[in-house]
Symmetry: C2
Subunit: 342 residues, 2 copies
DNA sequence: TTGTAAGCGTTATCAC
DNA sequence: GTGATAACGCTTACAA
């Protein structure tokens, strides 16, 4: 029994050709005569040859590997995007190297470096805001990359994502149009997170435009967890007058907030109109009348894959691609009549 | 401006040592004199040297890379496990190569091959049931691996996971003990999925032991999606007499089922006791009185990481490691009194 | 169409 | 402790 893995040389010997020909058969089948090709393929099958990617990468300077640098996989929306990304890249022969920095800039620096060491051909980053060191590395290695989920104004980086600020503003305007005046927001942590920051900003701007105030007590900033959603709701709901609408930074926060409303005997959206961003499919199940801002997270993964593949191929890619978000109105969410409040 | 990446040779030249010494400084710092080490480190910093992983992998036959072969990232439970896995492996200097086969055996074969081509040092598979070809490849390359989420009886493969059958049986027995006699199950697709199959089997066995029948109309097999949960509930709830308890194959199905109950004006768990497996944190928010079987999915990822690292290091690893699941009883879920049913 | 051979950037085995 | 140097398995001009 042979311990040594089968190499190109073995295949070449067995097929009576040079290793160059075998290599060509693998990379450019059309550049090899049909007979030779057939013989080589049969030999490969017979010997069970599996190419050595490291050697390939070393010689060709391409690893057929793409790095995905994201905050976390615990956010189902990110998971969906990464899944779609992996699927699309896989079909193109690329494998995804996963790296989660958990919103820690130092971790992100470290991981970016590691991904580059691993020889990724391209990088898909989540978010537009990154450490200078990260951008410097990418720059120095001339690594094709694409920023996702958010959009960057400067035009310095190619990005594909959502206009988080506009989405938040639109959702807020919708609530205002319905007559809500007492609004609150349960935001995600805005540090190192331009998505959360943009959403908060969008809400604030829309309110300002309408001359509606957002009391400090009605804006809480919490991590993206279910429990934080509950806690956040508990905080803002205590304000007087009670908010009639609560905007949540993402799915998880909204789900937690709705649960807390239920726990307090508050109907959603009859008593409190809870709203939020991202997928919100589950949240809508929790509360069928929900109005939400839906982000096509899967489509984002697919398009990001196309984008990075194009960039690798040296094709020009749109510097800024915005994905449309959709306001999903599932029921009437007008504020409860005055006087009916606690 | 230099287009060529900085190599070991550049570092060696600049530091006035041989490349061997630089290599050593990187891999075995203690085997290099402090002065030399310092000089080399400073040079590396100054030149911005980043190691070439492909070359490293080719020469050392180790890529510092682990493959994660899973069904999907759209299942939040899997995402959590992969996240934990990535985190733990990252701390040990390993990077995760992600591959989702979406329950397609052909895709799994293809992906397993690709991961091996990429030179992964080890493989973490989700589930115990895999194509013979997958096992053959692993075998041929003597690739350290670990199966996760489920447990394998034969002892042929090292695995770490949950006893899905026992968990299902335990949950069922709990329901029976509460007095439920009219049970139904919304199962995941059992083909190529021993987790779903084991859970279904556990339910069936527990029922058989208690002499309770499970009508064919009360067992539906559906994909793991929210909508399937709704549809599944719609199907089983139509049976007469109406089931008093519905066991769902996983989180997503349970959430969908609960939503459908709500839509039908059925209280959960007052009218119908919906239960399920996996994380169930969200499901419990939907319906605070829920009784669920909680699987420590994050811990699984952590432990799987330790396991595969040990295997790579050549240490002996326990062939079979079972993670305890926890029955979480959040409220009384006795069946509604007879006659109160529709 | 096929073969020859020079790398690709490391690691690791020897000497010194 | 350090330095030559032969692999590692493949790609890719360049020749034939």
């Amino acid at each position: 029994m042979n311990r040594r893995p089968v190499t190109l040389i073995d295949v070449a010997r067995a097929a009576n050709v040079s290793i160059a020909t075998v290599s060509r058969a693998l990379s450019f089948p059309h550049k090899v005569s049909p007979e030779t090709l057939g013989r080589i393929e049969r030999t490969i099958e017979a010997l069970g040859y599996v190419a050595n990617g490291s050697a390939r990468a070393l010689a060709s300077r391409r690893s057929r590997t793409i790095g995905a640098l994201i905050p976390s996989l615990d956010n189902p929306s990110f998971a969906t995007t990464v899944h779609a990304l992996q699927r699309a890249l896989g079909e193109a022969g690329y494998t995804v190297l996963l790296a989660c920095h958990e919103f820690d800039p130092a971790a992100e620096r470290r991981l970016a470096r590691t991904l580059i060491e691993r020889g990724v051909d391209g990088l898909v980053l989540l978010g537009t805001e990154h450490e200078p060191e990260v951008y410097a590395l990418i720059e120095r290695f001339r690594l094709p990359y694409v920023l996702t989920w958010a959009l960057e104004e400067g035009g310095r980086h190619t990005c594909i994502g959502f206009d988080n600020r506009a989405a938040a503003a639109r959702l807020t305007e919708h609530l205002l149009a319905l007559g809500h005046r007492e609004l609150a927001m349960i935001s995600g942590m805005t540090a190192n997170n331009e998505r959360a920051r943009e959403r908060a900003l969008g809400v604030r701007e829309a309110l300002r435009r309408s001359g509606v105030a957002l009391d400090p007590g009605r804006f809480v900033e919490v991590p993206y967890t279910l429990q934080s959603g509950r806690d956040g709701l508990a905080q803002v709901i205590g304000q007087s007058p009670r908010p009639t609408a609560v905007i949540c930074g993402n799915d998880l926060l909204a789900i937690g907030a709705i649960a807390e409303c239920h726990a307090r005997g508050l109907g959603v959206p009859e008593d409190v109109s809870v709203t939020g961003f991202d997928d919100m499919e589950i949240a809508a199940m929790l509360s069928p009348g929900l109005t939400t801002m839906h982000f096509p997270t899967q489509e984002l993964g697919d398009l990001a894959a196309q984008q990075i593949l194009r960039a690798i191929a040296g094709e020009t890619v749109p510097a800024r691609q915005e994905l449309a978000v959709r306001l999903v109105v599932r029921g009437t969410t007008a504020p409860p009549r005055r006087g009916a409040e606690s």
